[in-house]
């Protein structure tokens, strides 16, 4: 009996202890969850991201739209979305890829591509500093590089990359925008041909392309390509300062697997960073070492004077072979499938972010040159010397986190590295390699960005984390939730989370720049007298409708608050009607839109002084309204017109009018 009582009280105690433990662990879990969600948020951060109505943000951020194919422009620190620039995907809102003027922008050697996957924005640089002239961005799927003009925030040029299988290690400028680069993520047969996939190791090659940028016009051309082994080339950065003249590309799948890469490409302890001496390449080109290789690619250019793009067929490209060009390429062994490759502001340190590793490998440019001079080679692969790992290594940031992807710098001697697997950012000291601080991200960060963080002079006030997963961070919107970025203050010893903000598509990478480097150059209107569009009407007197067989050209104007003409008759079923619409306004922020009922097309949104063309093939008789789609004025609702469509065999006279 005594024992039983004792047993009872012991059992009771155990039960109570378990309940208490259970409750407290529940409490702890709730606390942990809460801490995860909020991070270490101090109470007054709102005021530090608050930009009062009418005030400007301090920085522009150009954030890639990923699988949206576009480029988003945000203000920092507010995180406000300012504009989505259509680049690689059609955009019916702006008629990009729908208007006759912009359709050629999306032409490729495969035909019209309405979509791509836009990954890495890169601002042009002068003397290693962002200069606010252009933003480049790569199209990953059908290999291309685009140039966006930062006076208009419009895509000015797209060049296709031949002999490439997916343009990921791109565009990453040199320090005076001499070149932007384009390395293939997927090696492909060279030349492209019908072969068995298991001939990968023999028949496939990886191509790295150097695109020359005209310093005045910005126009791009593929100056040369370098033929490399069939690895996957992941990311790139060019040297700066002492390492100016070199560009570094990371590679993975040095195992040359062509199936189940998640295993096959993860076997080697070390993959390679390919260091390309592009100044040497220029010498070899001057010596005639470049092979003129037949190629098939498009070069699309938008002309601001005619408001029109043209697509040009290109048929040849120059290829350099490392076997014939000693000193052109070296391989730097780097642990575990490195993703980002980042050069510190001095140009001395080359950071390989081995994404399947816990450590961060930092090479020294000085060591690399010494190893080259002393021929410290492990081996030679397809004519490319592999430098001895220990001879180029500068140091290792030890056990920094799990899955390092990408590093940027603050200009105060610190590196900031994103870790995808451990979902955090680690701040470390360049030179001593000690870890200084770490902060969680929500969730699974890919790249990060500090304005100018990959230039010679970072503007190290804020840092933006671009996350791959959002889960519960925002109000749920069904199975597909928003993508997200997070803003940190990095001016103190500790990184401090300030703000979450949603992004379009998937934010892969971003560039930031002090607003004053762009604001003063931003165009307000296009000058009407400089409009050289072949179908422009510069005044209402110049408007007309001209029939050329089944093609009907309508020269139309728009001004607050009417179209001229606004009554059109004599159009027939089966005609192809070209509406060439000129916005006569010469005032800031007075666009007009244009659309016709049932015209199987997108609206055009015409900026002041601009001419845009949209086509319509009417399929049935009737009288159809058209109207202005952009609320422009007090009489916007009156900005409308009618177009009469008669039977194909009718004799309705062609006529047009306004106010009659």
């Amino acid at each position: 009996m005594k024992y039983i009582n004792k047993m009872k009280s012991v059992l009771t105690l155990i039960v109570i202890a378990l309940i208490v433990a259970g409750i407290s662990s529940c409490g702890q879990q709730a606390k942990d969850t809460d801490a995860f969600r909020k991070g270490a948020l101090s109470s007054d951060v709102a005021s530090r991201v608050y930009v009062a109505p009418g005030e400007y943000d301090e920085f522009y951020a150009f954030v890639s739209g990923g699988f949206s194919g576009q480029l988003a422009v945000y203000g920092l620190p507010s995180g406000r979305l300012l504009r989505v620039i259509p680049v690689f995907s059609v955009d019916p809102e702006k008629a990009y890829g729908f208007s006759e003027e912009t359709k050629p922008m999306l032409e490729t050697s495969f035909g019209f591509q309405p979509w791509d996957d836009a990954h890495h924005p890169e601002l042009s640089q002068t003397d290693g500093n962002t200069d606010g002239r252009w933003c480049f961005i790569n199209g990953n799927n059908t290999p291309r590089v685009a140039r966006i003009d930062l006076t208009t925030f419009e895509t000015a040029e797209i060049i296709e990359i031949p002999n490439s299988g997916g343009n990921h290690s791109s565009p990453f400028t040199t320090e005076n925008t001499e070149y932007v680069v384009a390395g293939t993520r997927f090696s492909v047969p060279y030349p492209q041909q019908d072969v068995a996939i298991n001939t990968y190791a023999d028949k496939f090659k990886g191509m790295l392309s150097f695109i020359k940028v005209n310093p005045e016009s910005g126009l791009m051309n593929i100056e040369f390509q370098v033929l490399l082994p069939a690895f996957d080339y992941d990311l790139a950065h060019s040297g700066k300062g002492k390492s100016h003249g070199w560009t570094f590309f990371t590679s993975y799948n040095t195992e040359k697997a062509s199936t189940l890469l998640e295993v096959g490409a993860s076997q080697n302890d070390k993959d390679f960073i390919a260091a390309i001496n592009w100044k040497k390449a220029e010498e070899y080109l001057a010596q005639g070492k470049g092979h003129d290789v037949p190629a098939n690619y498009k070069h699309n250019v938008y002309d601001e004077a005619t408001h029109m793009a043209t697509s040009n067929q290109m048929n040849t490209v120059k290829v350099l072979l490392p076997e014939e060009c000693p000193g052109l390429v070296y391989f730097l062994p780097t642990p575990k499938s490195p993703h980002g490759i980042d050069v510190d502001p001095t140009g001395e340190y080359i950071v390989g972010n081995g994404k399947l590793s816990a450590d961060l490998t930092v090479h020294s440019f000085t060591n690399m040159i010494a190893a080259i001079d002393n021929k410290e080679y492990d081996t030679i692969i397809e004519g490319i010397p592999v430098l001895k790992f220990e001879k180029v290594l500068a140091g290792t940031v030890k056990a920094a986190g799990l899955g390092p992807l990408h590093t940027e710098f603050d200009g105060r001697g610190n590196g900031y590295t994103s870790f995808f697997i451990s979902s955090e950012i680690v701040k470390w000291k360049v030179g001593t390699w000690e870890v200084l601080d770490r902060v969680s991200t929500y969730y699974s960060i890919g790249h990060l960005m500090i304005p100018g963080g990959d230039s010679k002079n970072p503007q190290g006030k804020y840092m933006v984390a671009m996350n791959k997963i959002t889960k519960d961070r925002y109000l749920p919107t069904g199975p597909e939730v928003t993508q997200s970025a997070q803003l940190f203050d990095i001016t103190g010893d500790k990184m401090e989370l300030l703000l979450d903000f949603p992004t379009i598509g998937e934010p892969h990478y971003a560039q930031g720049i002090s607003a004053d480097r762009i604001v003063s150059k931003s165009k307000k209107i296009y000058k009407l007298e400089e409009n050289n569009h072949p179908y422009v009407a510069k005044s209402e007197d110049a408007t007309k409708v001209v029939r050329e067989g089944k093609d009907v050209h309508v020269y139309m104007t728009m001004i607050r608050s009417h179209f001229s003409p606004d009554n059109i008759e004599g159009i027939k079923v089966g005609d192809k009607v070209y509406f060439h619409v000129t916005n006569l306004e010469q005032d800031y922020d007075v666009p007009h839109g244009f659309s016709v009922m049932g015209f199987e097309n997108a609206e055009i949104l015409v900026m002041p002084g601009q001419t845009e063309t949209i086509t319509w093939v009417p399929s049935r008789v009737g009288v159809y309204p058209f109207y202005c789609t952009d609320f422009c004025s007090a009489l916007h609702q009156e900005m409308q017109g009618y177009i009469r469509v008669s039977a194909a065999n009718s004799t309705t006279e062609l006529k047009w009018s306004l106010g009659e």
């Binding site: 001004i559 607050r560 608050s561 306004e585 010469q586 005032d587 004025s633 007090a634 009489l635």
Partner: protein, 184 residues
């Protein structure tokens, strides 16, 4: 001092030349959607500035379109100025004190007529409204202020002399001063 009277008179006449470089008058409209304002500048022989935006804004209430051709004064006013300059130089070099005064009186007369003409134009511009105008506000006129600041519907209008206008004032003052100190 008196020996400088002729020189001052010549300078006074030549000062009118500034009318060909700077506008006489400036009218500015300010509104929430025009935070930096839109302005027109009236020269002795031209009108410049945001004329098309003035016209676009004002056509909704039926105001007339401003064009250079709509001001016949702009065609001949410059010749009056040139003539007065020539006359002033001649008087400065060879004229008597009374001639000096005559030039001053002429200038004041021309200035007054000019200002009156400007007022009449403003009155007509603000009151002559197209009966078919889209927006009609009963009893509303849109005459800009003759000189100063005035609120007109959602706009604030400013009307002030510009550099050329001040040059006329300076010219008259200099000539008056020259006349005062001139020996007979």
């Amino acid at each position: 001092m008196k020996k400088y009277a002729r020189a001052i008179m010549v300078i006074a006449a030549l000062t009118l030349g500034l009318l060909f470089v700077f506008p006489m008058w400036k009218i500015t409209l300010l509104a929430p959607q025009y935070p930096t304002g839109i302005s027109i500048e009236i020269f002795v022989n031209n009108i410049t500035g945001d004329i098309s935006n003035f016209n676009i804004m004002n056509h909704y209430v039926g105001m007339k379109t401003i064009t250079v051709k709509g001001f016949p004064e702009l065609a001949y006013m410059q010749y009056i100025v040139l003539a007065m300059m020539a006359l002033g130089v001649v008087i400065g070099l060879f004229g008597k004190k009374s001639h000096f005064w005559i030039w001053v009186v002429f200038m004041i007369a021309f200035g007054t007529v000019g200002l009156y003409d400007f007022y009449i134009w403003e009155y007509n511009y603000g009151h002559t409204l197209d009966p078919a105008a889209a927006i009609k506000v009963p009893g509303m006129a849109y005459q800009p202020p003759f000189i100063g600041r005035k609120e007109i519907l959602n706009f604030i209008a400013y009307s002030f002399p510009a550099l050329g206008g001040y040059a006329v004032g300076i010219s008259i003052s200099l000539a008056g001063f020259a006349a005062l100190i001139k020996r007979k």
